[in-house]
Symmetry: C2
Subunit: 134 residues, 2 copies
């Protein structure tokens, strides 16, 4: 991982490595706050700024995707495979959705003469867990 970071001209600081490890191991699509809380357990002196800076850096390298599915806060995803997301209005969890029927349209690069760089398909509703709890 150190090599991969250096290759991009980034320093492999412990905080940064930990953030990447965390993000690539979770499917929870954590918010910046949640990432911060997690990292703080291992690096009690870590600051929000470091988390935010790291997220900006990783967004710029394309290693992290920022999701706009949660209206209250940005959520982050390191799973770079093309996939969609489901947001539960109740528990606020973000689920991955690997929907083969929509994989075709990922190739779209232009629409109405606009240059399309990214396509996000967001589903919103009540997740299977919350549905059963009612």
């Amino acid at each position: 991982m150190k090599e991969q970071l250096n290759k991009k001209g980034l320093k492999a600081t412990p905080q940064r490595v930990e953030i990447i490890k965390f993000l690539s191991s979770t499917k929870l699509h954590p918010s910046a706050e949640e990432i911060y809380s997690y990292i703080k357990e291992k690096f009690p002196t870590v600051s929000f700024a470091t988390v935010y800076n790291t997220l900006v850096t990783l967004k710029n390298t394309g290693d992290v995707k920022e999701l706009s599915i949660d209206p209250e806060r940005k959520r982050f995803d390191m799973d770079l495979r093309p996939h969609n997301h489901f947001f539960c209005k109740k528990c606020k969890k973000v689920y991955d959705v690997y929907d083969s029927s929509t994989e075709g349209e990922i190739k779209i690069e232009k629409i109405d003469e606009h240059i399309v760089e990214e396509i996000s398909l967001y589903y919103t509703g009540i997740c299977k867990d919350c549905k059963n709890k009612i």
Copy 2:
């Protein structure tokens, strides 16, 4: 319009009517701030609270949709026809996209056992105007 509001148990206050008129006449998908600025021209004493309250009310009745496409702020849309949106990273404009190829999937009500209440397809990139300005 007054009737339609009353039918839903809502009072047809001048501010509210003006907000609805504005929202249903524009394709700009304004933010709360922009709605506020516009309404303030006709009602200089109007407050943010009124705009926000009205937007919450209209979201609850289903007359207004809240878009999460702009990562910096919520955008609002009164066009209830099924359609998608394109967001320009440069000028921040939100364009309507009537994409016949994706109209089919609007019927999805369940995915991975989750109850799907809403589907949002967001395109992000550089719009045709900004593309030409470079």
